[in-house]
Structure formats: C-alpha cells, structure tokens
C-alpha cells in the first residue's frame, strides 16, 4: 500500500532565484525504510518539510505539484492533523525539547490533542520503554547527553502514534558511537511498530545496510531511487556527495579480482559472511 505519493513537486523559497526542488516524483510503501542522501544544500530537508506541510504553510515560496500522505494533502491540511500522521525529528534535539521533565515533554503533545488522562499515561510509558529512557523520566531534558536528548525527542514524536517517522540528520550532533546506538534503536523500533521511516543521514556506513531503499537528492532532483546495493554497486557514490561505506568500496574492488565474489556488501557483517562462505568453499 502506498502511503506517500509525491508528484511533480517543485518549490522555490521566497527570495531565492533557484528552485530547491524540481519536479520530484517519489512514492513510498507502508513500512518501508527509506534513506535520503545527497550533498548538503541539495534539497533533502526541503523534501521532508513538504511531507508534513511545513512547506508551504510555514515557509513562503512558490509551490507546485501534488503530495498525498496517508490520504491527506499536506499543503491543504492543518499541521496539527499532519503531525498525527507523520512525526518529525530534527538535527538538534534541543529545538524540540522544552518541558521540565522527560515525562512532561513526552506528554505535552498528547495533552494538546485532548486525550484522556489514562491514555496519556499509558502512551508516555510505552514511548519511554521503546526508547529505553524510563529511568530518565524525572530528569530535565537539558541536563541529558545529546544521545539521550535525541531519544526523548523521538519518544515524544512516537507517543502521538504517527504512521510515518521522518528524521532530518538526527545523529549529526552525536559522537559516532552514540550515533550507531541511536540508529540501531530506530531500526528496532520501526520493525516493532511497523513504521514507515524516512531518514536523512550523512553517516551512510551506519544506515545503508538497514534501509530498504535509498533516494539520492542532488541539486533539487531525485537522481537515484532504488536499492542501496544497486546504488553503491553501479554508481560512483562520491560523485553524488555520498560517501560509500568502506566495506562496500572494498567488496566492489574484490568483485573485480575474484570471479566467485558474490555481492557488494553494505556492512561489516555482510562482508564477514561473504568471506566465510568463500573460505568454506575452497
């Protein structure tokens, strides 16, 4: 079932002469994990903002084309309604947190929706458990580490129970170890909740093996849309400002040397499996 449909979408920010998106066409199936990559300034964030209606409702500019997200048109639907379908997480979690305790932060949007008290309590508990932050419930979000803050931000979005989770470089303020942990949690949560996920992420080496699909946005256009393996195998990802995981570059090279080398690997685990199977067949 298609949950996101984008047709001939173009957008130019007010005051800019260059379009940020040009005739973009994408469709996303329910439950898919889509990794969105490309050079900085290429239009990735603009695309996400069009999906929840921030564009054109809060950013002025020239908008054309048609976007349908779970049956709603984000350019015509009030954002409080869109936020129940598609949750957004941004680079800097501090921009999303403001309450005096973790618990209160997660409860805030639910109170705004006017949900009954018991339901709010239940959803807050569930969301904290999903992101493994129950032990932080009484802490102030501002005294937490960056990784913990980002988990609180994700929990407060998931408590609304959206069908889609859209994240704009959620790990860019985190150190690599914490980033790797956060991406594993995200992958685990989306499988458990069967969420549709759109993730803009520069750390391709941590995300490529988890994604079902990769969409490369460059200079306002979708220049590739397909499986991560095909992208790294058949394209020179560097030309699109996308770094390729080191094991991917290595397995690509080995494929040219060894006839029996089967596939281009996206993670260290895949690489290990490939080498083991070749060694066992010697």
């Amino acid at each position: 079932m298609t949950i996101i449909q984008v047709r001939d979408l173009s957008f130019t920010y007010a005051g800019s002469s260059k379009p940020a998106l040009k005739n973009v066409n994408i469709s996303v199936e329910k439950g898919e994990f889509v990794l969105v990559v490309g050079p900085s300034g290429g239009g990735k964030s603009t695309l996400l903002r069009c999906l929840n209606g921030l564009i054109p409702q809060f950013y002025e500019g020239e908008y054309s084309g048609k976007v349908v997200v779970d049956g709603l048109e984000p350019d015509k639907t009030p954002t409080y309604m869109m936020s129940q379908v598609i949750g957004m997480v941004f680079q800097n979690p501090q921009n999303q947190l403001f309450a005096l305790s973790v618990e209160a932060d997660i409860a805030f949007p639910l109170e705004n929706l006017g949900l009954p008290r018991d339901e709010i309590i239940q959803r807050v508990e569930e969301a904290m458990e999903l992101l493994n932050i129950t032990h932080l419930r009484d802490r102030s979000p501002f005294e937490l580490s960056g990784g913990q803050q980002q988990r609180v931000a994700i929990a407060s979005v998931l408590a609304i129970k959206p069908k889609i989770l859209a994240m704009d470089e959620p790990t860019s303020f985190l150190d690599p170890l914490t980033a790797a942990q956060l991406l594993s949690i995200i992958d685990d949560v989306r499988k458990r909740l069967q969420l549709t996920v759109l993730l803009v992420e520069h750390r391709v080496e941590l995300a490529a093996a988890k994604a079902d699909r990769i969409v490369v946005v460059s200079d306002g256009c979708v220049v590739f849309d397909g499986s991560p393996r095909d992208f790294f195998e058949f394209y020179d990802s560097h030309l699109y400002g996308v770094s390729s995981p080191k094991v991917t570059s290595l397995s690509k090279r080995l494929k040219t040397h060894l006839e029996k080398w089967n596939r281009v690997c996206l993670s260290a685990e895949e690489f290990e499996a490939e080498v083991r199977s070749l060694v066992s067949h010697l």
Partner: protein, 275 residues
C-alpha cells in the same frame, strides 16, 4: 619544537577539571589527531595552543613563547584555531571582510589583504559569496569560511576542531587534500575529531584522551586497531578494522586501515589457500 605541554592542568570556572597533567610535544610539520569522547579534553587542549586558555598549573610553550606571557593576538599569528562552531568566529557584515579582518589587524597593505582573501575564498569555493553575510551560509559553508579566515594569514600551527562535521563526502575529500598540502608545506596540523574514517585515511599520529588525560599516543595504525584502547576512549573502530577483527580466526590480520590493505589481505588468504 612547535608546541610543548608540560604537566598542564586546566580547571574551568565551573570546577570541571578538563586537563589533568597533560605532557606532550608537537614537532614542526607534524600531523596529529586528538581523539576521545565528548568531554575528554580535546577542545580544551587546542584552546591552550593559541592562548585562549592558560594552564592553571604547568606550562605551554608555543614556538618558544610561554603562553602565559603572551596575548591571544600575538599567539594567533603563529597558531590559528578553527572553532567547532564556526559561527562563534563571525561578526562582520560580509564574507570578504570577515576573512580580511585579521589580515588588516596584522598590518598588511590593502593590496596584500585583497590578494590573500581572494585566494582563500577561491580555494574554499566561497568566492561567489564575497559580499553576502556570513550568517546566511549553509552549515558546511560556514565551516569552510572559518578555515579560510585562518588560512588567509597562514599560521605555522593550524588547529582544527571537528573539521568534518556537516561536510559531505566531496568536501571531506577536499579537506583531506588541504590538510595534506598544509602538512607538506611544513605546517603543524592538529585536529580534534571523532571521525575515525577520516583519521584512518590521513594516518596521522593519534593521541587518545580520556577524562583529561592522555591514554595513548602513537601511530594511527597501532592505536585505531587496538580494541582495548578504542573502547577506553569510547570511539568507534574504523569499519574495515572491525570487519577484519571478525575474521581473525581465519588468519586475517585486522590492521587494515584502507581499501588497498583490505584487498591485499583477502587475496592473500583466498589465493594462498586455493593453491
């Protein structure tokens, strides 16, 4: 010596003891990466080199000058620091003046200033923004402007705090070449970074910091492949090292920092066994 740290301690006014007896020597023309988790003392250490911070105990000697006896302005001429948050460096109304500011202060003629600024902006692909406000640039562009500001007066020691954050792979590649170029010109380059893959490609001397102390100091090849050390400093291992560690039982050597090393390792094992 380019810079010498003698049992340096630093305590912030908030009472955080950020450096705890750090002793290090940096030779002229050396390329050094400072690594370690957030709060390990990387940035604090860099700020001692241009005198922004002065040791509360011990001393720092930069190009023969004891930093306690010199001003930041004097030290900046020999040691430039590019901040992690580039915006902290900006205050002019346009990109050109931002780069020109220090040069004018150092007393260069307007002709020299113009040439240096134009060179630096072109090098970092910022020449089209010359008359724009620095605050309107994208995150990656701001970072490059911060570097252009420092490189325009070409100090002998260059300190870069998290230079690769927010840069896409093309910009990272360029930055790698720039660092190598500065290094071959004999400049001392110190990087504070979390980016293990970037470090693995540059192969500098690596200093691991943890809780304000130096826990390891040596060759990149030795430190980034040492599981115990890497864990101690809470950093990720380079992906290739991690992949080959998993294959050690098959006779693979895990000291693999780049793709060429990896190709050689795999071919050696697979072809050798097939003979």
């Amino acid at each position: 010596m380019s810079a010498i740290f003698e049992s340096v301690h630093y305590i912030y006014p908030s009472k955080v003891h950020a450096l705890r007896g750090v002793s290090l020597e940096f030779r002229p023309g050396e390329l050094v990466a400072l690594m370690g988790e957030n709060g390990s003392g990387k940035t604090t250490l860099l700020k001692h080199i241009n005198g922004l911070l002065k040791p509360v105990k011990g001393r720092v000697i930069v190009e023969g000058i004891d930093t306690r006896t010199a001003s930041v302005a004097q030290l900046s001429q020999v040691a430039g620091l590019v901040f992690q948050n580039a915006e902290e460096m900006f205050f002019e109304s346009n990109v050109f003046d931002e780069v020109a500011f220090a040069l004018r202060n150092f007393g260069y003629s307007e002709e020299v200033v113009r040439k240096r600024v134009e060179w630096a902006l072109k090098f970092f692909e910022l020449d089209t923004y010359s008359s724009q406000s620095p605050f309107l640039l994208s995150g990656g562009e701001k970072k490059r402007l911060a570097m252009a500001i420092i490189l325009a007066w070409s100090p002998r020691i260059i300190c870069l705090d998290e230079p690769t954050i927010g840069q896409d792979s093309l910009q990272k590649e360029k930055m790698k070449h720039m660092i190598k170029m500065l290094n071959t010109q004999g400049r001392t380059v110190l990087l504070a970074t979390h980016d293990v893959e970037f470090v693995a490609e540059l192969r500098p001397r690596v200093i691991l910091l943890s809780k304000g102390e130096v826990v390891a100091d040596g060759k990149c090849e030795e430190i980034l492949t040492d599981e115990t050390l890497v864990k101690k400093a809470s950093i990720l291992m380079p992906q290739l090292v991690y992949a080959f560690k998993r294959l050690e039982d098959l006779g693979f050597d895990s000291r693999v920092l780049d793709v060429d090393d990896g190709v050689r390792q795999v071919l050696k094992v697979l072809r050798h066994e097939s003979v």
